[in-house]
């Protein structure tokens, strides 16, 4: 069966060049970089080349890159690390309602430990308002953590403005750039970023490896203790195959970004328009323009997300949904709710995230099979029957 992967924001395959260098470091250059001997030196060389590659893509210095076990750990390390190091200066943290759980749950844990956390609201497109941020600042504020691009709806936050404000006020600024790296330009100097999270497996690198950029001069309390690896910021034998894979993936991302993202933006627009033309009551979630080139997020009214996913899957199409049913919780996506969608429309959201392997033919195929799926489910749906009965709680964008 034809299989079309449209879930690149969940994870990606690794590119052949990435697999190749990983394999080399799994089988031949397998030394421990702390070792004195030639096997160790080979590993160390791979480690430091990867550090250069990562730094280059975000305009940082290699010494400012700390490798971690992924985006989640990097987010935790940034937030808990700043909280523990700077708590004497103040105990207030500002974040947004649409952050990834790696940020939100970490902030919740700090709240239980006596920190005050402000969750900035977002507009209907999922973007914070600078005015809300300005008003939230207090002399106690030690950290602002706002993501660059949202993982569900792809909306892009005004990072440079936030960075400039934070710098002005002397507040540390962390951004989770897991979903923007390789898709839109990221420049830590220009954007005044102090801490930045990246992850390998969203950019055709491996799972289980990520990094935190730590601007020179910013101090963090480590999360994990042991050997003195990563300049004492992160103990544990370095995941060399993962790290060299991440480095290579970052390098390729930089080289290919311009052409590849132009290509994907076209496919994205074709997919959005095509589905809206073929199916009624389909709304776009997220900002129409301030959006990463790979993200399609649509709500199909009167249908629930998981049943669409299953139906798509049976046609070989891999997508994801903001429906509660896919997460096991009762509430649908906190991101869609924060944007003001009513529960039932949030439950009917489908995210399709484009990547590397996707072609125009893929999009055509999706456009062909999708309408029948929605129609079948709508015919089963008691809501469709009472079609257009207005949803009381929500402010649907028409």
């Amino acid at each position: 069966m034809r299989r079309i992967y449209l879930d690149h924001s969940a994870t990606t395959s690794v590119k052949p060049e990435v697999a190749e260098i990983m394999l080399e470091h799994l089988i031949q250059k397998y030394g421990n970089p702390s070792s004195v001997h030639s096997f160790g030196r080979e590993a160390k060389k791979g480690l430091e080349r990867a550090r250069d590659q990562v730094a280059a893509l975000i305009n940082a210095q290699p010494e400012e890159i700390v490798f971690t076990s992924g985006g989640t750990e990097a987010d935790n390390m940034a937030i808990i690390g700043v909280a523990n190091k700077y708590s004497k200066r103040g105990k207030h943290i500002i974040t947004s309602a649409v952050e990834h759980h790696a940020v939100l749950h970490t902030c919740e844990v700090l709240e239980k430990k006596g920190f005050k956390v402000t969750l900035l609201p977002v507009d209907e497109y999922g973007i914070i308002r600078m005015d809300d941020l300005r008003k939230a600042l207090t002399p106690e504020t030690i950290l602002i953590t706002i993501m660059h691009a949202n993982n569900e709806v792809g909306s892009i936050q005004p990072i440079e403005e936030i960075g400039t404000l934070a710098r002005e006020k002397g507040i540390i600024f962390h951004t989770d750039a897991v979903q923007s790296l390789g898709k839109i330009p990221v420049d830590v100097r220009k954007m005044n970023i102090d801490l930045l999270t990246g992850s390998g497996h969203k950019i055709y690198g491996p799972k289980g490896v990520g990094f935190l950029y730590v601007k020179k001069g910013i101090k963090l309390e480590p999360l994990v203790f042991g050997g003195g690896q990563e300049n004492k910021y992160r103990a544990g034998t370095e995941n060399i195959p993962g790290i060299v894979g991440l480095g290579k993936a970052m390098e390729l991302a930089g080289e290919e970004m311009n052409t590849e993202m132009t290509r994907l933006a076209k496919l994205r627009d074709c997919l959005i328009k095509g589905l809206q033309q073929r199916i009624s009551n389909v709304t776009l979630n997220g900002h129409p323009i301030l959006r990463v080139p790979t993200n399609v997020n649509l709500s199909f009214e009167f249908v629930e997300g998981e049943s669409m996913l299953l139906s798509l899957d049976m046609k070989g199409i891999a997508a994801s949904s903001g429906s509660a049913c896919t997460t096991g919780s009762l509430d649908p996506s906190h991101v869609l709710l924060a944007m003001g969608l009513c529960h039932e429309v949030a439950h009917g959201s489908i995210r399709m995230t484009l990547g590397h392997e996707n072609t125009e033919e893929d999009i055509q195929y999706v456009l062909e099979v999708f309408p029948a799926i929605v129609e079948r489910l709508r015919n089963m749906s008691p809501l469709y029957q009472e079609k257009r009965k207005e949803c009381a709680e929500c402010t649907l964008k028409k």
């Binding site: 049913c325 009762l330 009513c342 529960h343 089963m380």
Partner: protein, 123 residues
């Protein structure tokens, strides 16, 4: 994730629709929590002669709805009332643990429809 039986009932749901001349109808869930099931019955001589469902919900919600209609068709009201959500899940060769509490409501909808029928009979 889902058993083959669940996938079968999801893909080829039995008794989809709404009876025009129903004897009773029951609805559970609400759109906010992502699941609504509506079951309508046609009862004659205390026997459920026909039954249809409409469901907004995930794969488990659709499959349990479909399954419950199969289980109940031709049964007496008393027999139908003994059917539990758990029994429906079992008939589907089980559901993922997370789905057991959130989308396994079809028997509730059935019971509501029966109640509705019984109330109508009394009045």
């Amino acid at each position: 994730m889902y058993s083959e039986k669940v996938m079968d009932h999801f893909t080829n749901p039995r008794n989809v629709g709404e009876l025009e001349n129903f004897s009773g109808v029951g609805e559970v869930g609400n759109p906010a929590c992502g699941d609504i099931m509506r079951i309508s019955l046609f009862v004659e001589d205390n026997i459920i002669k026909d039954v249809k469902f409409k469901t907004f919900g995930c794969g488990a919600a659709i499959a349990t709805s479909s399954m419950v209609t199969e289980m109940v068709k031709g049964k007496s009201i008393e027999e139908a009332l003994t059917i539990t959500n758990k029994a429906v899940a079992k008939a589907l060769d089980g559901l993922p643990p997370l789905k057991m509490h959130c989308s396994n409501l079809a028997a509730d909808a059935l019971h509501k429809a029966i109640n509705n029928y019984q109330e109508k009979m009394i009045s």
